[in-house]
Amino acid sequence: MTDFVLHRREILAKALADRGDALVVTGLGSSTWDLASLGDRPENFYLWGAMGNSAMIGLGLAIARPERRVVVVTGDGEMLMGLTSFTTIGARRPSNLAICVLDNERYTETGRQPTATGLGTDLAAVAKACGFPTTATIRTEAEAGQLGELLLRTPGPVMAVAKVVDEPLPMAVPPRDGGYLKTRFRIGLLGEKAATQP
């Protein structure tokens, strides 16, 4: 735990610097604040609830838009709650889906209690065992340099787990109205007419 060197917002900022038209879904809590800290945009869908569901939202989106890259950014606690989705994604294997787990081995929002990822669970190994063709656990700056390639260009489904420092960070609060976030995302992706007059 103490030997972690990567800072979650730094590696995420670098990885998504050239995200282009990639669509990004975040798991609730820290990952939502992390993505918001990089700048709000319509192609971001932030979860403020629905813990454990980020990967499956990513799958539904990836199936609907095969021409677009879909990146799910979430934390270890959120991913552990959605662990069954590894089997579903591994069976379907969408090539345009990548999942990034920013793993500080803590339930950060609820008081920094330890998660199972610090006590034996290897999320990348689980994903590999479920059929993900590309999995990685990232611990060093050099490895973090590959994160953008993994998330944006490597054929998926990709599971990239980055072990990150457990650190207090300023809150970056995106819009919290789910209906607004949903409609804004759809207008950005589909155009106003298709999004509002389905």
């Binding site: 669509l23 609830g49 980020s54 939202i57 539904g60 989106l61 838009r65 579903t88």
Partner: protein
């Protein structure tokens, strides 16, 4: 002509433009799942647990596609936070077909409590519940439910009665071993 309810349900999926179908298998859903799997215009996604289907349907809608989620009544219990916290909070359209257990002539006592709780639980989290008590009801309710879900941004569940599906009967056969 095949008048099984799954034929009408599938036809209404097509007419409404449903493109993704998430399911956790149930005996009562077998024929509808088969029809959807055989349809190249529908992407079927087998889920390990029902809450996954809720996320999939929301993601599909973000990407411009309509989805339907198929589950047994027990699975409704697994969907509660996903529906309340995602679908209802963000006013996502949502459409589910739930095949009922624990309801009409149930022979397995372990199915009864969740089966009886399905409608009140769904209503408590904002889902509009349609009760299909006959095979004819199912098709009409699927058509109306999909329209209500996707034209009015509502969450709708069609509960297909155990009376329509038929109750499982357990009879111990001591000569052949227990079933």
């Amino acid at each position: 002509m095949d008048d099984h309810w799954s034929v009408a349900a599938h036809r209404h999926f097509k007419a409404a433009g449903v493109r993704q179908v998430a399911y956790v298998p149930d005996g009562g859903l077998t024929r509808l799942i088969e029809r959807c799997r055989e349809d190249n215009a529908i992407e079927t996604v087998m889920c390990a647990t029902e809450e996954e289907g809720v996320g999939l349907a929301a993601g599909a809608w973000l990407g411009g596609q309509k989805a339907a989620v198929l589950m047994q009544s027990s699975g409704v219990g697994n969907t509660v936070n996903a529906i309340a916290s995602l679908v209802t909070s963000a006013q996502f359209p949502f459409f589910a077909i739930v095949t009922m257990r624990g309801q009409w002539g149930e022979g397995n006592p372990w199915q009864v409590p969740m089966g009886q709780a399905v409608a009140p639980v769904l209503e408590a989290i904002g889902v509009k519940v349609f009760h299909a008590d006959t095979a004819e009801d199912v098709g009409a309710m699927v058509e109306a439910g999909l329209r209500m879900a996707y034209s009015s941004d509502q969450a709708v569940a069609v509960l297909v009665s155990q009376r329509v599906i038929g109750s499982k009967v357990w009879v111990a056969d001591n000569k052949e071993g227990a079933q």
